[in-house]
Structures are given as C-alpha cells and as structure tokens.
Amino acid sequence: MSRKVLTLVVVLAVAMVALIACQEDNTAAMEALQRENATMESEMAAMEARMAEMESMTAEMMEGGRLETVKARGNLICAGNNSLAGFGAADAAGNVGGFDIDLCRAVAVAVLGDANALEIRPTTAAERGPTMQSGEVDIMSRNTTWTSSRNAQWGNFAPTMFYDGQGFMVPTSLGVNTLAELEGAKICVQQGTTTELNVQDFDNQNNMNLEFVISADNIATNAAYLAGNCDALTTDRSGLVSTRAELDNPADHVILPGTISEEPLGPVVPHGDEQWYDLVSAVMGILIYAEAYGITQSNVPTAVTGDSAVDRLFGLEGDYGQEDMGLSKTAAQDIIRAVGNYGEIYDRHLTPLGLAREGSRNALWSAAPCTDCPKGGQVYTAPLR
C-alpha cells in the first residue's frame, strides 16, 4: 500500500513540475494533464477512503483490547525472569523456561493455539514496575509478589500461582541457627524487591542492627553472598531453595527456619483491560482445576465423559464463559495437552529443586469435585462455571 502512495506522490510531483514547465502556453498538453489530474484525484479519493477504513480498523483493534492486539501480532509478549532456576531461567541453549514461564506458554496456547508463539522479555526486579506501566508487555510472570501498591500502580494481579515467604540462608560455618542470631550481620539483598522492604522492616522491628549489601540482579547478589561479602542471603524461600540447589556444595549452606513476610507470587496484566485479566485468570483456573479433576497431558478428554465438571472445563458440554473472555470453547484441551496441569508444571520445574509440594501451602486446596477432601494447601481459584 505504501508503495502505491509513493508512486502516486512521485507521479503527482512529476505532473506538477510538468505543469509549471508548460505554464507558458500549451493548451493541448494542458488539457491532457488536466484529464490525468482528474483521474488521479478520483484515485486519491478512493485511496483516502481506504486509509480511513484502515484507521478505523486499527482504532477498533486498540479499543477491542489486548486480546485482539496479541492475535494481530501473532505472539504473546511475556516479561519473565531469566536467572532464577525453576521459575524462569535460561537453559544451555538460551531458551528461557520454568514454572512462571509455563503460565505464559499456557496463555499463548489459549490465545494463539501455540505454546511457542511467545516472546520472553527478561526483566530485572527494578525494571518491573516501569515495564508494566508502559503497557509494552501483555503479561508479566516473574516471581512477583502481589502487594496492594503494586496492584494500584503496576497492573492487576491474576490469581496467585505460588505462596512464598521471605527467609535467610547462611553458610553453615557461621554456626547461626535462628533469625535472632543474625543481629549485626551484613545481609545480601536484591534491589527493587519486596524482599528489600521486608528486611528493612525486620531490622527496624527487632533492632537487628543489620547492614545491607544491595545488588542489581540475582547473579550479582548470589556472587556477593558466595564470595562472603555478606553473612546472609535473603529472598523468598523458594528463591533460596533454587539458589542453594544450584551451588557446588549445597550442604555448606543452611536455610534458617522462619519467614519474615508473606509473599504471594502471581502473574500481572496491564491495567485497563478487564477481558484480558479475566482470560489470564481463567487460564490459571484451567491449570488448577485440571489437576483437581485428575486430568493430565496424557488423558485430556475429547469426547463427553459424563462428569459434568470435566465436560464443562474441556468444552464438551455447557460452558464457563469462554465466549465473554475471548477463549475458544475447547481452550482447556489445547492448554493441558501443551503444558500440562498445575501439578505437572510444578513437578517439571520445582520438584527437581527440592521444593516439596506435599503438605506445603502450594498443595491444592481441595481435590474437586469432591466437596470435603482438603489437600491441605492454598492453591485455589474461582470455580470455572
């Protein structure tokens, strides 16, 4: 299209030059030019009409929201971590994967039908807020703690994916066994995290007289800790477990008992688009309820099973509002087949790190459809119906 416009402009320019040149007195040429001009003008009008149409279409798309934008773009832009083993980390081939990243993959399947129609934007902790506010990413799934001020400033937090709390890791050689014994210690902490704020509260409340070594990313923080630049490393317990598992000699480091904060980690979507928020929340629900119903990658139902809850989830009978959210009727089938249910994702990425799920807060709340079979955990979202 732009080529057409260009040609048109060139032709017009030539015509104008010709017009000026022939201004003297050349009626025949003049008439010919006028005729040409007339046709060109009508062409221009048609072109303008088409452009206006295009513009209104784009405007509609923008108003239609993120779902249409993502579909038109053909991939999902997901802000993630690339240096936290298990949650979001690059493998030897440079591909970023993990527990958090699999949620983005699930959303990519739900919207585009392809788990790999995904662009991961590695984002540091401190960059997260501005990244979300700019609206340049569709979703952020980056071990991010849900807090009220982040909810107000960054974007909306979809259901929590992982329940965490902040802890401390120290070298075994220090002989420290409790949090209270950390008085006067130097603490390594990562910049731009709730961890940073919590450890300050902990220091103030308990008069711990702590000193802080603040680094910009996981890698620098861990390097400082391992070099003995500080006495203890603090971050979410899951992060500590992940870091410890990666060490050459995990037995030389001990994670102290006790947490100092509440850290519900979940995905964030930009403000101002309810439909997109609903869709991401529903995808989380699909992952969780598929596990509750015992549906895994290998036994995704494609025909009516007779269990109405399962049939509804997988789009075989009834519905749970797919159309309003912009999901296809059978989105759950594609999602579970591509990435597995919540438990499978957990086992794939977090169990190998030694983050036991059984009996932890990250077990399911209950095994549905059974009404009174508590599993002891907190993982739960709005029922899909």
Binding site: A126, K186, L197, I214, A216, A220
Partner: protein, 402 residues
C-alpha cells in the same frame, strides 16, 4: 558605440533565490518544526500517562522511604523521607563524581605525559594502557573490577595491615579523623579556611620570589606543608587548652560474631569498584587529551625554555603546560561530564548511586516523576561542571581571545 552592461539589481533576482527570503524561510520552517516536535513530545507523554492510567505527581517526596540504602555518607534511617533519600543518593553520586574527576585528571596527566616520554618502555606502557582501557566498554570493566574485589578474602579472613588498615572483599577500612562535636567542627572549618589562605599566599609569594630573584624557594612544598604544620600546632594548642582533643582518630575494629568492622572509614566494595573503574577508564581519555594539548604547543617553546637553562620538569611545568591547558580544558570538561554520567552504571556493582536508588524508588513511587527527578539532577550536575570548566577556561585564554 558599445552598450554599457547593465548592473544586476535585486529586481533581477528571482524571488526563490533571494538571500533574505531563503534565510527567513529556513528560519521559519525550522522554528515551526522544532516547536511542533516539542509540542508533539509533550502531548504524547501526557496522552500516554492518561490512557494508561500511569500515576504521577510529587506528593510522594514527603512520604517515608522505608527502604534500605546500601551505602551512605550522610546519616540515613529508613524512616527518612523520599526527598531526603534522594539527597543521600545524590551525595553518593557526587562523591564518586568529584573524587573520580580529581583522580582521573591526575592519572590522565601522568599517563599523557608518559606517553610523550623519551623513554621507550614508559611511552609504550602508556600507549598500551590507553588503547586497552579506552577500547573496552566501561560496564565490562566495572564488572571485572567487581569480581576482582570479590575474589579478596571475606572480612573475617581479610588482611590486616599494622592493626589499622583492613583490606577484604567488603572494602578497605582505614583510620579516619572524627571531630568531637558541633562547636569543634566549626573551629576546624574556620582553621581550615585560614590555613588554606595562608598556604595559597605563601605559594604565591614564594613563586614570585623564585621568578624574580632566581633563588630556589620551593613554593609548592612549602605552600602545602605550612598549613599542615599549622593544623598540627592548632591541634596541640587546642588539646592543651581544652584538656580534651578537639578531634580524634577513630580506628576500624572488627566487632561481634560476624566480625563487622566498626569505626574508621570504610570504602565499601561498590565505592572501590566505581572509583577504580571510572578513574582508570576516564584517565585513558584524559591522557590523550593531555597529549594533544602538549603537542599543540610549538616545539620552539620547549627548545627556547631548554636553551634558557630550565630543567625538563620546569620546562613542562612553566612553559609547555600553561599553554597546553588552553587546548586541554574544553575536552577535559566533557570528560568530567562523561564520568559523572557514567557513574549511573553503579547499580550493576552494588553502589547506591542516584540512578540505582531512584530505580528502587519506582517500586513505591510513580516512575514518571522519578525519572523526571533523575534527569533534572544529572542535568544540574552536568551544567555545574560545565560552568566551573568554562569559568576556568575563560581565565586561561589570552587577553585578545576572550
């Protein structure tokens, strides 16, 4: 009869080739373009802020910051306000910038002179230094120094030199003077001013004596030694007069289970890395500026000075360098600006400079406002460097070139 050629007048020049018309059109067009661009930028920002519901405003500045700052040279508590924390961060940046500029200039002059040395080894070493550090990205160099310092033993196993100097991967701790109170501090400031005035006066007078009588008078050495001596005498007198030392030397000492070093002054890892990285990197540029400056002074000047019997050192100090400074100062100012702005990489190596603290602030305060503050602060710092440099530069110029 030959026709007299008619002189061209303005009436003969076509309108579109008329110089005044061309100039005015160009001015008006570029003016309109600039104004339109500025308007477009600002409406675009405004619209984006509104469309995306991005919070903005500056009321957060009076709220409590409640976040730790790794390194601070003025007292800081987490209950201090955002505004104060911003001040702490600016102080951190200023300390690196000022110390960095002074050290980089000194090192740059040494390397630049070395590069022109007649000694083959010295000149080649300087060349290698310049080519190496000038061509490796600063961030890479900073990370390199960061990991070098981390490779030192941790604080409990660190080196202790003479029971006073502690060197470990947490930084370098050394004895540091502490003034024992507000009144004493004022006395010392007043004394310092007097000492500096006396030092400068002595230096001027001795230089004058040296140049007029030719007797060696050591203006530099005496100019520095005299105020220091004065300070020592003042300390003794004040100590005897008040029965209590007006200032004392605090020595660093490890304390508690973790062997944390208390007392003295500790240049922590981040500060050390920033100074090492910035000074070494910037000095390589300054060295080239100094070399260019020296080479811009005519050879005859050196020859004449040598013929007059000036030593090589004096030739450089009294004849070549004062002339070279005119060429050196303007690009040197721009290196000062670069160093100050480059200090914004500090976050990568854990130094709490303005950028790194302000980025942390975006967690709990509107990012748009924060970025405006960051830009304003750097702009102010850069303009101050420019102002100082330009004033100095103006003083140096020949009378006729002002």
């Amino acid at each position: 009869m030959a026709t007299v050629p008619r002189l061209l007048t303005y009436q003969d020049i076509p309108v579109w080739r008329h110089i005044l018309i061309i100039q005015w059109t160009a001015q008006i067009v570029s003016g309109v373009v600039v104004v339109a661009l500025v308007i477009w930028f600002f409406t675009n920002i405004g619209n984006a802020i509104q469309d995306r519901d991005i919070p903005y405003g500056f009321s957060f500045l009076s709220r409590e910051y409640q976040t730790p700052i790794g390194e601070h040279f003025i007292p800081y508590e987490s209950s201090d306000t955002f505004l104060y924390a911003f001040g702490v961060a600016i102080t951190n940046t200023l300390i690196v910038a000022v110390a960095g500029v002074i050290l980089a200039t000194l090192l740059g002059i040494v390397i630049g002179v070395a590069r022109l040395s007649g000694n083959w080894l010295v000149s080649k070493l300087a060349t290698v230094y310049i080519e190496f550090f000038r061509n490796v990205p600063l961030l890479v160099q900073l990370l390199f120094w960061f990991f070098i310092i981390l490779a030192l033993p941790p604080v409990r196993e660190g080196y202790v030199i003479g029971g006073m100097l502690y060197v470990n991967n947490g930084g370098i701790s050394l004895p540091w003077p502490h003034v024992s109170g507000y009144a004493a501090a004022l006395t010392w400031v007043a004394l310092a001013v007097v000492a500096v005035v006396i030092g400068v006066a002595l230096n001027k007078w001795l230089s004058y004596r040296e140049t007029t009588t030719g007797k060696p008078s050591y203006p530099l050495i005496i100019g520095i030694a005299a105020p220091l001596l004065l300070g020592a005498i003042a300390w003794l007198v004040l100590s005897f007069a008040t029965g209590d030392s007006p200032f004392f030397i605090s020595t660093p000492e490890p304390q508690g289970r973790f062997g944390r070093i208390v007392g003295g002054f500790t240049a922590r890892t981040g500060l050390l890395v920033m100074l090492l990285g910035l000074v070494i990197y910037t000095a390589s540029f300054i060295a080239e500026i100094v070399r260019a400056g020296i080479q811009s002074v005519g050879r005859g000047q050196t020859e004449a000075a040598r013929a007059l019997g000036l030593s090589p050192m004096n030739t450089l100090r009294r004849v070549v360098f004062p002339q070279a400074l005119r060429v050196i100062i303007p690009p040197l100012i721009s290196q000062c600006l670069n160093l100050t702005k480059n200090s914004s990489l500090a976050g990568a190596v854990g130094y709490s400079d303005l950028t790194s603290v302000a980025l942390t602030m975006t967690q709990t305060a509107p990012a748009v406002s924060i970025f405006m503050l960051i830009m304003g602060a750097y702009l102010a710092m850069s303009l101050t460097w420019s102002l100082i440099g330009n004033l100095y530069n103006r003083r140096l110029q020949f009378g006729g070139r002002r």
